[in-house]
Symmetry: none
Subunit: 201 residues, 2 copies
C-alpha cells in the first residue's frame, strides 16, 4: 500500500486529500519526502516544476496537481516525469483512481485533457486546408505513409526517415508521394503546414 505525501502551500488545500488517503502526509515543501512513495505536488510556477523534476528523479511516483488545467501544463508536467495530472479539488474517488493507475505503472490524465492530447497530434485538426480547399483527412493514409509523413513533417530529410524506419530512401519517396496525392499537397513543405493545421498560402 502506497504512502502518500501532499505538497502544497497553506492557502491551497483540499479536505478531499485526507478523505481519499487518511494516512497521508501533508507539507509545504519536500522535507517529508522520505516518508512517501507517491507524491502529490501542486504545480504553479517554475520552482514547482523544478521540484517536480527533482522528486521524479528520486524514483518516486509523482502526480501533479493544478489550480487551472491546461493542455500545455499537462504536457509539461508529464514530460518532466509526472505520472498524473489532476485538479487539486478533484473528488476523493478520482484521487483514489489516479493513485491506483499510477501505482500500477500507468499514467492518468483527465478525459478532456486526454482528448486534447489526442487531437493535438497530427490527426483531426480543425480543418487544415491544402491549396484546393479540401479538408485534410490523415485517416486515409496507410500506417506506413503516416509514419513517413509524420517524420517528414517533423523536419527530417528522406535519408533520415529511411534510416529511422530501416527502409530505403526510395521507399520513403514512394510513401511520401502517395501521401502527397491522398492529402492533395504539393510537397513536403505543404505537408508540414497542413499536418500542423495551418493554412497554405
Amino acid at each position: 500500500m502506497s504512502q502518500h505525501l501532499f505538497i502544497a502551500p497553506a492557502d491551497i488545500q483540499s479536505p478531499r486529500w485526507r478523505q481519499a488517503f487518511p494516512t497521508a502526509f501533508f507539507a509545504h515543501d519536500a522535507t517529508l519526502l522520505t516518508h512517501a512513495d507517491c507524491v502529490w505536488l501542486l504545480v504553479h510556477n517554475d520552482d514547482d516544476m523544478h521540484a517536480l523534476q527533482t522528486i521524479a528523479a528520486s524514483g518516486r511516483k509523482i502526480i501533479a496537481m493544478t489550480q487551472i488545467e491546461s493542455g500545455e501544463q499537462a504536457r509539461s508536467v508529464l514530460e518532466s516525469g509526472a505520472s498524473g495530472y489532476v485538479h487539486y479539488l478533484a473528488a476523493a474517488s478520482v484521487l483514489e483512481q489516479v493513485a491506483q493507475v499510477v501505482a500500477a505503472g500507468g499514467m492518468w490524465l483527465g478525459a478532456d485533457l486526454m482528448r486534447q492530447l489526442v487531437l493535438a497530434t497530427a490527426r483531426s485538426l480543425p480543418a487544415a486546408k491544402p491549396v484546393n480547399g479540401k479538408p485534410v483527412d490523415l485517416s486515409q493514409l496507410t500506417s506506413r505513409e503516416l509514419a513517413v509523413a509524420e517524420r517528414v513533417a517533423a523536419g527530417k530529410t528522406n535519408k533520415e526517415v529511411a534510416r529511422e524506419l530501416d527502409i530505403t530512401e526510395r521507399t520513403v519517396k514512394a510513401h511520401l508521394g502517395s501521401a502527397f496525392e491522398k492529402l492533395n499537397v504539393r510537397d513536403r513543405l505543404h505537408l508540414v503546414l497542413v499536418m500542423s493545421g495551418r493554412a497554405v498560402t
Copy 2:
C-alpha cells in the same frame, strides 16, 4: 455495475477477459450489443474501425483492444470514440483498472503510449528550440530577410517568392541563406517549424 461485452474473432481470445469480468458476454460481432454498456472490441482492420465508430456513436463506452500496440493506432481509436486502448492479452488487473477509469468518465492508455502522445504534441511546446537549443529570435533578421522567410514559411518556392517580391531567385536564396545562419536552422523545413513555434526532432 457495468455489463461487459467482448467482441473478437474466435482465434483471438484471452482467458483473462472472463477472469476480470466473470459475467461478461462474448461475441464475434456486435449482435449482443444491447446487453452491454461497456464494449471491448478487438481492432485489427478498417472494418473494425468502422464498427468502433458505430458502437461509440451508440453512446456506450468502448475500449479498443489490439494485438500490436502502436501510437498511431492508439490515436486513431481514441479519435474514433474509444475511451481506452489496451493489449488483448493484458492482465486481468489491468483490464479491471481500465474498466474503472472508463466507467468514471476517464480515458485509459498504457504509460508508454501516453508518453508517446505527450511527446507527439510538438505544436504547443512553450519554447521552440532549433537544433542547438538556442531560442528563436526573428528580430535579428533584416526586413528583407523576414519578408522572404515569412513567405517560405507559408509554403512558397524560391521562384514564387522572387516573383512576389520582384527580385531574382538568387536574391531570395541569399536572404534565405542569411536567415538560416542567423536562426541557426538547417533548411526551409526547419524554418517553417521554428517560425511556427514547434520543436524540430
